[in-house]
């Protein structure tokens, strides 16, 4: 597994590494970098390993700072800020560098966005992958395996570089290493404040995996060695939701005396909780991970499985409460919320619902978080 020499990493303290990662987030789609070519994707059900094995950098498109109204000509008002923000970035030309985009049919919005994108940006090459809604049974496994291998052929056709089992295994190992390091980082979460932790995670979706793994290796070592690094204090909290790329909630928690000790986010534990088995058929191995990872609520999992996972995480992290940070118009999460919140409440785990939007007012969020923290500290 070669670490790219294009992104040399000097010896740095943890703080400097975090800063370096933070700056990578600000850069609009690696405009300054010429290689390697990138394929963009939005949903974490898209197999980065296959994209990487075809010689691309897999770049997760996060809604950025491009004014969202640019997308108004293509999306009605009742579409989530994630889809709107990502499309706006593309329409404003920020993603022109990409060699193509991959869409997974996970939620209704993502499914539609793929088609809308194709019409709004006819110059973009679009590849679709179907990830089944079922997560059990043998025939789902064989369907998904077939779909992954079909996807590999399509991506390879774009890059002009055939995907051998060998290269695919290399990519799988590399991404496993990334997820492993993230899990390690989670274990030393107390050495980072909540905002920095989220920044580190988010940077992993934007940086080429080789450079990111190198930085993470250093960061995890530094964090364990810097004994003086202050242990984050504050009221321990869990946070649950879809994608929470915006750091506002985390910043406010750091400021107000809260501390995120665990998460159930699509850019968080749901991304790194399961590794790909490094044996057998690589497509099957990838499929098994998809079916076994902590599911997105778009998938059909038993009703209690999300509840049990949240409950388990709260016990394990000794969180005092949960923040549900949900995107407005995100149905899969909004349907699950009342059941999760009420059941946990009955079990003595209080929660707060925050509806996050690109336009969420910081002041309003602050007031609500402050009130929640006060209740918890009583």
């Amino acid at each position: 597994m070669a670490t790219s020499t294009a992104y040399p990493v000097g010896f740095q303290c943890a703080g400097a590494i975090v800063e370096q990662l933070r700056s990578s987030l600000g850069a609009p789609c690696q405009k300054q970098r010429t290689s390697p070519p990138s394929l963009g994707y939005m949903c974490t059900y898209v197999p980065e390993e296959i994209i990487h094995a075809a010689g691309f950098a897999a770049l997760r498109i996060l809604p950025g700072t491009a004014p969202a109204f640019i997308a108004d000509a293509w999306l009605p008002g009742f579409c989530c800020a994630v889809a709107r923000g990502c499309l706006a970035r593309s329409l404003s030309g920020e993603l022109d560098q990409l060699s193509g985009l991959v869409f997974a049919s996970t939620c209704d919005t993502m499914q539609c966005l793929g088609d809308i994108w194709g019409m709004a940006r006819p110059q973009d090459q679009i590849v679709d992958i179907d990830t089944p809604t079922h997560l059990d049974s043998h025939h789902v496994m064989s369907y998904l395996t077939g779909e992954l291998s079909r996807f590999a052929h399509e991506v390879a056709a774009i890059s002009g570089r055939a995907i051998s089992f060998q290269t695919l295994w290399q990519s799988i190992r590399l991404y496993n290493r990334k997820r492993q390091l993230l899990r390690q980082l989670e274990d030393s979460r107390e050495h980072l404040n909540s905002t920095d932790y989220l920044v580190v995670i988010n940077a992993g979706f934007v940086l080429p995996v080789e450079a990111y793994v190198a930085l993470l290796e250093q960061l995890t070592i530094q964090l364990s060695e810097e004994s003086h690094s202050e242990v984050a204090t504050g009221i321990p909290l869990m946070i649950s939701g879809a994608l929470l790329e915006d750091t506002t909630v985390h910043e406010l928690l750091d400021e107000l005396g809260g501390r995120v000790v665990g998460d159930d986010l699509c850019n968080g534990s749901r991304y790194y909780d399961t590794l790909v088995a490094e044996s057998g058929d690589p497509f099957e191995a990838l499929a098994v991970r998809y079916l076994h990872r902590a599911p997105c609520p778009c998938k059909h999992a038993p009703a209690h499985s999300r509840l049990e996972r949240l409950r388990g995480m709260v016990r394990c992290t000794e969180a005092s409460g949960i923040i549900f940070a949900l995107h407005k118009f995100c149905e899969p999460h909004a349907f699950d919320y009342p059941y999760l919140a009420h059941t946990l409440e009955e079990e003595g785990i209080p929660s707060l619902l925050l509806e996050v939007e690109s336009t969420s007012s910081r002041g309003q969020l602050r007031t609500r978080l402050q009130a929640f923290l006060e209740i918890l500290s009583l």
Binding site: P76, C79, D115, G118, D130, H300, E331, F335, Y337
Partner: protein, 409 residues
């Protein structure tokens, strides 16, 4: 002028009342199955389950103007006001049946959900299955962009086989292929009749307007696969044919022929469309009631169901959806189209701007997008809509002048 009522509608009311009563009272021994509108109900009918459609019921709640308070009941329980209003109406009716029309739906014994219409239905039915603690069977139909792939058909086909096995295991019901063939044949017959009826509206003046189509689609959804549906559509077809023969139009004067896209605005069904009547406009065709138009191949009925139910209107790529709309515009000689940007239905609504452009560019026919909601009247702003409709109708009236290009709204 009042809406021209069809004679058949009286029969329809009896039919629907009987359907809902049957579920509650007539067949105490037959297990009740909640079914999504796009699920292959033929399998349930074959095995003697009694299908009940929450989507049809909640549309009915909307038409009876009962949906708002039910939505609010659901919202008080923590369900977001941005969720599908069918789902909220249903969840409200479960929470407070006394406030719901007909006392709510009877308790289900099982739920069958097919995600060919949306992902929302999965979350909605998951919630209902949890509330009633009854088994939920999910049929996963992959999105079809371009050609329907062999792998997709096999995936759905296998699920259907497993579904039958699971139903036989969980309920004292037998599956017989010969019976399925009969049910599918009835289903096909009603589908063909309904298609014929819709295509009778290619006549000038059109014998039916959108509200007629929306009201009369109910048996197509709820009684698909029964002899009752076939009988109903035969009677309706005769009546509509008679209108055509006698040159009777659905609206007093038909100057503009329009196409409707999306689910109806149930709580304003007649008033909203009557507003168009003032401009001598008639909705001669719509995309929604045509969603139940696929015939099932009978040679291998299970595979036939997989092939028919997977590529339905809301489960195909936008290019194909636009193509279908263009075909309708040509076949029905449509002058303009109105798209309901329905806050409750993302798969139907999110792509309308893109589809509008494509269709207008290809056909030269202008389109209007109006934002509202199928069951939540709070999203319906009458004066705003009227202004937009007025402007649109003025555009249409100036259509003798050369068309300058698509309107980007």
């Amino acid at each position: 002028m009042a809406h021209r009522r069809l004679q058949a509608t009286r029969q329809l009311n009896r039919l629907m009342t009987k359907h809902y009563l049957a579920a509650r009272h007539f067949h105490p021994m037959r297990p009740i199955a909640y079914v999504s509108s796009g699920a292959p109900v033929e399998i349930l009918r074959t095995m003697g389950f009694l299908p009940v459609y929450p989507e049809n019921y909640t549309a009915l709640c909307g038409a009876r103007k009962a949906s708002l308070s039910l939505c609010q009941t659901a919202e008080a329980q923590g369900y977001s006001p941005d969720l599908c209003s069918y789902a909220r109406t249903h969840l409200g009716a479960i929470a407070d049946p006394s406030a719901a029309p007909m006392g709510g739906l009877p308790r289900p014994d099982l739920i069958l959900c097919c995600n060919n219409i949306c992902g929302t239905i999965l979350k909605w039915f998951q919630t209902v299955s949890r509330l009633y603690d009854v088994p939920l069977f999910v049929l996963d139909t992959p999105y079809v962009k371009g050609k329907l792939k062999e792998e997709t058909i096999n995936y759905v086909n296998t699920q259907l086989e497993k579904l039958i096995q699971a139903l036989e295991k969980n309920f004292p019901r037998r599956y017989r292929e010969a019976r399925l063939r009969k049910v599918v044949a009835l289903s096909n017959e009603a589908t063909a009749l309904w298609r014929d009826i819709r295509y009778l509206c290619t006549a000038r003046p059109s014998p039916l307007n959108a509200p007629d189509l929306f009201v009369n689609m109910a048996p197509m959804v709820v009684l698909r696969g029964t002899a009752a549906a076939v009988r109903y559509y035969r009677a309706l077809k005769t009546e509509v044919e008679e209108r055509v023969a006698r040159g009777i139009g659905a609206v007093p004067v038909e100057r503009y022929r329009l196409l409707w896209d999306n689910i109806a605005i149930w709580y304003e069904l007649f008033r909203f469309h009557r507003y168009f009547e003032r401009y001598d406009a008639c909705f001669v065709v719509d995309t929604y009631t045509g969603a139940w138009s696929g015939l099932v191949e009978c040679d291998d009925p299970i595979r036939g169901l997989a092939c028919t139910y997977t590529p339905i209107l809301l489960n195909i790529g936008f290019a194909q959806r636009a193509e279908r709309m263009i075909d309708l515009i040509e076949a029905f000689q449509v002058d303009g189209f109105v798209m309901h940007a329905n806050r409750s239905c993302k798969p139907y609504s999110l792509g309308q701007y893109a589809i509008q452009r494509l269709v207008s560019e290809r056909t030269g026919v202008p389109g209007l997008i109006v934002e509202a909601d199928m069951c939540d009247p709070r999203a319906y702003s009458e004066s705003q809509l009227k202004t937009r409709i007025q402007a649109f109708m003025e555009t249409l009236s100036m259509r003798d002048s050369p068309y300058v290009g698509p309107r980007h709204l």
